[in-house]
């Protein structure tokens, strides 16, 4: 059935328009939550998730395949891997300065940066990137293409596939209750 994703996708002016109106707001909200998580409820996990969901919304409006091509795969991989490296990098930097993993006080002592900024780096550069990247990646990986044998399988007609699965189910549904 998923083979039909791109077949059934038809541009809808209504959805496109409202997504065009709403997407900037959700993106801003996600960024606000990420950047302002230190002093108000919210933080990088939530903000990253909302940023990721914004991309999902765009994918629903513009079609999943075009969105995936627009947001190339290497960008996503770079997003996730970059997040993990930034997190690890900050942790190792404090160790290089002679402290423990993520001991932010050292930034203050050695470089004169308040410990808060170390945390913000972790939050914005680390966790938010990882969460947003993983959410988008999981969505595209689950939504995208088909293994060839299934593609031929379902090409006959979607109804037949559903019917076959349904028959099998109802047969066994009868059996298992006895």
């Amino acid at each position: 059935m998923a083979d039909q994703y791109d077949d059934t996708y038809t541009e809808s002016q209504v959805i496109l328009t409202s997504v065009k109106i709403i997407a900037p707001f959700t993106l801003t909200y996600g960024l606000f939550m990420t950047f302002h998580g230190a002093d108000t409820p919210g933080g990088s996990f939530q903000g990253g998730a909302i940023i990721g969901v914004t991309i999902l919304m765009l994918a629903f409006a513009f079609g999943i395949e075009p969105t995936r091509q627009w947001l190339s795969n290497s960008t996503l991989v770079a997003l996730i891997a970059g997040g993990v490296s930034i997190f690890l990098g900050v942790g190792l930097a404090t160790m290089a300065l002679g402290g423990a993993f993520l001991e932010y006080e050292l930034f203050d002592e050695v470089l004169g940066i308040a410990p808060k900024w170390g945390m913000e780096t972790i939050e914005i550069g680390g966790i938010a990137l990882i969460v947003a990247g993983v959410v988008i990646t999981l969505f595209f990986a689950t939504a995208s293409g088909f293994t060839p044998e299934r593609g031929t399988d379902s090409s006959s007609s979607p109804g037949s596939v559903a019917g076959r699965g349904g028959d099998r189910d109802s047969e066994n549904g009868g059996d298992d209750d006895d």
């Binding site: 933080g43 996990f45 998730a49 308040a114 945390m119 990986a141 689950t142």
Partner: protein, 181 residues
């Protein structure tokens, strides 16, 4: 200490959606009801003074999980149904009911009442009270959750981030696709 009517209504809603999720035979209906359940749970977290958790649950539990489940049944199969509800699996009900009763009878009397100030987690001077009183001095942020997440337990969070990263890699491997080639 007594519960408010708001919490009571919300709990009934959560319970009803959970039971219908378990019993609906149609997978699509179950997924939709599960989304409603997650949303109710998010509101209940707000009631329990956990806005951070509520936001995460609303974005991820009600949003992303529902989308992933829907995509999965779109890509696989959705059994056609003539009945609305699943037949109740009585041995399962008995086993699970026994489990619940054992939990309720053995664990509940040992628990401190909900929201009591002498609850061991809350009154712990080395953990909770320390965090509450030293967060601003130690880290300079006001949100204690962020402080614990990124500073006090940063190494823990790093582990979680790597787990999420690993899960993303695992999905790509399992679905071995041309997607991320």
């Amino acid at each position: 200490m007594t519960m408010s009517w708001f919490a009571y209504t919300l709990m009934v809603f959560i319970l009803l959606t959970a039971v219908t999720t378990a019993l609906f035979r149609d997978v699509l209906s179950a997924i939709v009801v599960f989304g409603a359940y997650s949303l109710g749970m998010a509101i209940f977290y707000t009631f329990l003074l956990a806005p951070d958790v509520a936001m995460t649950e609303a974005a991820i539990g009600a949003g992303v999980t529902t989308i992933l489940l829907l995509l999965t049944i779109a890509r696989t199969t959705r059994p056609s149904t003539d009945r609305l509800f699943e037949r109740v699996h009585w041995p399962g009900v008995v086993a699970v009911g026994a489990f619940a009763i054992v939990l309720l009878w053995t664990v509940l009397p040992e628990m401190v009442a909900v929201g009591a100030e002498d609850a061991p987690v809350w009154a712990n001077a080395d953990v909770t009270q320390y965090y509450i009183q030293h967060t601003y001095d130690d880290t300079g942020v006001q949100n204690a959750v962020t402080a614990v997440l990124a500073a006090y337990r940063g190494f823990d969070t790093f582990g979680e981030a790597v787990v999420v990263f690993a899960a993303g890699v695992a999905v790509l491997i399992v679905l071995k696709r041309e997607v991320f080639a």
